[in-house]
């Protein structure tokens, strides 16, 4: 009797409201998220055959993983390649978007214009166009045996290199670097937006106090801005990781889909999950390192 009485009233009502709100999501999660995740993890340990009546699943143990790591010719190379790409893109994107956010968050003439400009990648760049725009020069002209790319057409790199008296090999290195940077900057859009939102959420009071105490801007950054941003940094890291994994130029994903199209579902799932896990562990390690270093610093 008593417990029933307790359960009535505003708390119980709110709990019921909560469930009403979440109910469709719960259904969606089970149907379109949890169940498929379980299925694809199971597939990665199995041999999956599609037949007329449905599918046959035979348990293989670790054979799929053995196949992709030991026997498949390309998987390991692609893996190393995209991990290397991940390792250099990730910090560059993070640092660059933080710097951009710090600058765009200040008050100066033309701030609105620059903000609109730097949010442009948010609007345009997601995969398809970026791929076409960035490769349009390269792909088009390479048919004519000229290795031109976006950086090549931006400035004449080879002339620059010769006029500086550097060896010729440098020029191709510069070109790759410039191409990489353009792509990376185009990947910074959402991250910059998230960082700006995070910067806005820091109470201005903290800065006022620190100014009264006579802190320099450098100290302000390291002791106020950076610690206050730690949650955003985690959010941005996760977002960046997902972006980098689902990048249209990612060869591992391409290979996995090619396998899927030729109905090697088990191998394809194994490829996807082992890649995801390795990147995930890598990122967890990075975040752990970040947490440890920063916590040590702040305490």
């Amino acid at each position: 009797m008593r417990t029933k009485k307790k359960n009535r009233g505003i708390t119980a009502l709110k709990a019921r409201y909560g469930w009403i709100c979440v109910a469709p999501w719960a259904l969606g999660l089970v149907l379109f998220f949890i169940w498929p995740v379980i299925q694809s993890v199971v597939y990665s340990f199995c041999k999956v055959n599609l037949s007329a009546g449905g599918m046959n699943i035979t348990f293989l143990g670790l054979d799929n993983f053995k196949y992709i790591f030991m026997e498949n010719a390309n998987y390991l190379d692609f893996m190393v390649e995209s991990l290397v790409k991940f390792l250099y893109s990730f910090p560059v994107i993070l640092v660059l978007s933080l710097i951009l956010a710090l600058i765009l968050n200040q008050r100066f003439r033309g701030r609105l214009f620059f903000r609109a400009l730097y949010f442009l990648p948010v609007i345009i760049a997601s995969g398809a166009v970026l791929k076409t725009i960035l490769s349009s020069t390269a792909a088009g002209v390479s048919n004519m045996q000229q290795d031109e790319s976006i950086a090549m057409s931006m400035f004449s790199v080879s002339e620059l290199v010769t006029s500086l008296g550097l060896p010729q090999q440098m020029s191709s290195y510069f070109v790759t670097l410039m191409d990489g940077i353009t792509g990376l900057i185009w990947n910074c859009g959402v991250q910059t937006v998230l960082f700006i939102a995070g910067l806005q959420a820091i109470p201005p009071l903290l800065y006022e106090v620190s100014r009264v105490e006579g802190a320099t801007s450098w100290e302000e950054f390291w002791f106020i801005t950076f610690p206050m941003l730690s949650r955003v940094i985690v959010l941005v890291s996760v977002f960046t990781m997902v972006e980098l994994i689902t990048d249209p130029t990612n060869k591992i994903m391409d290979q996995a889909y090619a396998f899927m199209r030729s109905q090697f579902y088990g191998e394809s799932s194994a490829m996807l999950w082992s890649y995801f896990l390795i990147v995930g562990v890598l990122m967890a390690a990075l975040l752990g390192l970040f947490k440890k270093c920063c916590l040590n610093k702040w305490e």
């Binding site: 149907l31 597939y43 939102a197 949650r231 959010l235």
Partner: protein, 321 residues
Amino acid sequence: MQRILPVKKRGSRGKLKRAQTIPLAIGRYILLISIGYLVLYPVIYMISSSLKPVSAYLDASIIYIPREFTFEFYEFAIRTIDYWDALGSTFLYEMASAALEVMMCSFIGYGMARFKFKGKRFFDVMLILLILIPTQMIITPMMMNYSQMDVFGIGGLFHSLTGIDLRPNILDTVWTFYLPSLLGVGLRAGTLLYIYIQFFKGLPQELEEAAWIDGAGLFRTFFSIALPSSSVVFTTVMIFALVWHWNDYFLPIMYLSDNFPLAVKIYDIESLLTLQNEWGTYASISTKGAACFLFILPVLVVYLFLQRRFVQSIDRVGITG
């Protein structure tokens, strides 16, 4: 009030450090402009190449602005990517599901932010996983499930008992896009939900409490009190959802077999161009530029209108809590 205060403080500090501020400002502009160049360059190149006649490529004196403009590549691009049909299909599949997603996620996010209930921890964990695991990872079982749409295996059980297959194949229909959006697990729904939840957590609760005491139910409170005060977060989420759906080429490639939206056509433009390769290399560069520009034009126009509100809403939405 809040806006005036920091400006004042800045001014008084500026006087003290005037000598330091000027080089800093110059450095800031140099950095902003040079990175801005990198951002704008591909766009400028795209627009310029789309307007250049082929002869302009061979003329070394012309880099960006040709002597005469041509719009023939726009016509060609419209024919190549089947612009109007593809645009219609973008609206049918992607824009509609973006709208559904924005509305549904607001409701779910509101529930997650406002109410305490049993099992909320589970949903918090699920939210993180939903952000973390992209659909790309689980596309195989998703496609298989869609080809035999089933709820909790009931249809399958029915099938094995009676031999009548009630599981419809919803691949190639709008439902592959609408259903997940309606249930809050559509394209990047995790991120949208996260933004909503953070926003509603920061929204003062007193008005809603008053409404409950006055006897308003959940839906009444949500629609007439919570929603009207959250236009800021709507702008942000709408822009994100719109843009992500507009640019999404992956799901349509997987789920549809024809009538592809625009993003797919842009993604595939290389092969579309080789299919009807009547012109040379330069023409194909120009056509690509024209097609890309046509593709981003609608979003760009919407962005120009919403830009100011978007930029301001970023400041106030409190994505990060």
